[in-house]
Symmetry: C2
Subunit: 426 residues, 2 copies
Amino acid sequence: MGLVVQKYGGSSVADAEGIKRVARRIVDTRKAGHEVVVVVSAMGDTTDELIELAEQVTPLPSGREFDMLLTAGERISMALLAMAIKTLGFDAQSFTGSQAGVITDSSHNRARIIDVTPGRIRNALDEGNIAIVAGFQGVSQVSKDITTLGRGGSDTTAVALAAALGAEVCEIYTDVDGVFTADPRVVKKARKIDWIAFEDMLELASSGSKVLLDRCVEYARRYNIPIHVRSSFSGLPGTIVSSDNPNKPEGGEMEQAIISGVAHDTSEAKITVVGVPDKPGEAARIFRAIADAEVNIDMVVQNVSTASTGLTDISFTLPKTDGQKAIDALGRVKDGIGYESLRYDDAIGKLSLVGAGMRSNPGVTATFFEALSEAGVNIELISTSEIRISVVTRAEDIPEAVRAVHTAFGLDTETDEAVVYGGTGR
Amino acid sequence: MGLVVQKYGGSSVADAEGIKRVARRIVDTRKAGHEVVVVVSAMGDTTDELIELAEQVTPLPSGREFDMLLTAGERISMALLAMAIKTLGFDAQSFTGSQAGVITDSSHNRARIIDVTPGRIRNALDEGNIAIVAGFQGVSQVSKDITTLGRGGSDTTAVALAAALGAEVCEIYTDVDGVFTADPRVVKKARKIDWIAFEDMLELASSGSKVLLDRCVEYARRYNIPIHVRSSFSGLPGTIVSSDNPNKPEGGEMEQAIISGVAHDTSEAKITVVGVPDKPGEAARIFRAIADAEVNIDMVVQNVSTASTGLTDISFTLPKTDGQKAIDALGRVKDGIGYESLRYDDAIGKLSLVGAGMRSNPGVTATFFEALSEAGVNIELISTSEIRISVVTRAEDIPEAVRAVHTAFGLDTETDEAVVYGGTGR
């Protein structure tokens, strides 16, 4: 029996009862003969309460101190969890990100892991302990300051430790039963996915599925660590994310398209740069300005230029929260580029269909657009990859569009599954 | 202008307003040209809330994990305090006990400082920062685990850093105006002491004065670091505790007794071992049994034995909380020692008069006992040192006894000072 890394989110350890329930689950895994490393988030609302305290003290908290503050949250949950496990008769020790050897760069509030040196964790395991590690945090390589990893940081901590320790699986416990073929809040007949490939999960995650963030999936894919997303409440098997389907059907690997699911995202806005001179380097200047403002963009579409004017339009989507920053950045380079105007639209939604073999199966694209058309949904932008088709529509059309596509690809389940859907940002 | 270490207790940083008020006070000191290192306790009730959480999870939390849990408290207050200082336009960085180089032994929940290596603090100061350090915590030398220092730990952290950094003074900010000649809740006419010698403060602290704990005073005396106990609310000068009176009167150093104050303590119990064979080694066996049970005893009194029986009684006082442990320990050695019985009494109080030159001024002792006699207070035990007389009485007699002695030694102030009295355990 090998080593298992388990990660529990804030909603799983929201109170003393939750912590005791999680402790029992951990001990069950230990009893089954596994070595267990647990990564835990802060309890329920702790992080929000700490943020509120900071806001009461200053409108603009310093990054270093904000990280020092927030990391108190995991410190509390991990110590309580270790106590609860010891009460069940098993040895447990808790470790901060720094103690666990999670080495990061110096970008406070959104640090990236650059190395994991889990010597103390390995020793704790060798001495028979269950090791509890604070998620979401690390220590910067140069200044030795405490850092936090930003959104999805606890999941990434878990995967990074799993990779560094050679775990056989990284279990991500959450408050849903796994990854679904669509958001169950929108599609009542969404089905739990038993297995999904890293690549498909990556596309789902970057297309709006919130169960796993792309960052964590990328890390797992790079080190080939299988992820098992499952509920800390039900204990049922969830979704395996890996490179190879463990339950591959006999004679599998056929070339038909395998649709993984439908993701949607209404957190983005669209900016259209109107009347851009259609000559080499203009797009580069636009996106350099955006990048310098530290704005991440998602879809990019450029239409064919009108021959008569020599001008073209460039549209891209980005998080609504970065909208003002991008508009300001583009405003500053308007004279240099010589575009005509900017249009900003934050009432958009994005819908993505993800699945392997999509491009080589023309029927998929046809079925996709037929379904949207029959649902009366107007399409504003289209972008595709090897295993994904995304469209931008009006935000208000998204629920109907998701349901239509989900049904068209035969993803609807027969029975209505009862699902609680949510998720924590860490 | 030299380096100043300031320590702020939990009641001074109970909420965002308190943190901002403390930040302004720190910045004022910085503006006056000092380098400033700040030691801060957890906010208000944070520690109690964390303890309650632990109790919800387990009846018997492990020491290591309990320390990990509790140290989250200072992490929150120190980060917020650093943010608040930065908002005022000064650079500040917060440091955990471990980062500040507070090295301790491995006794969780009551660790002792064995070394202080404040390299990072010194660097932070050299770079122009105000350094904020978590009180009450350190890191164990051998296992590198997080430890807490137990009662009075934040004060001790402050004094230890002051010693290691060569500070000119260690300011202990609290919610009272300084050290008083008696507990102002009991003696309305208690006077604030402007200066007190280390030795007298030690006796007051170990006799029940709660403003400073003996442990912190001992440390300051050993390294000769002046302590300034003062209010974080009023900002008035408080009490200087040092080896030399900075305001020594002209031609001072006369040999008359200088009474520092009256302390009392009703947190102790008295155990009397009745009918102990009066032969060498019996007392040693009794106190070895007590020591093995890790009980600290305070006063010890043995009466002259009755010649006819060859038996004597040994009485001692100890914290009420250790009463059962001591009784159990003595019960186990009863047959070996052959005493007759044990008497346990937890309705006692201790009153101590502290002052230099006491023993060489016989008038002091006489005045002391006359005052108690006139107040109708019955004395059960007496114990003296070079600069202290302590008596044990009924607990209910203590307030009246303290007032009587305070008045008899001319300690009463003319004006009624308005004083808020309290104190935090850390």
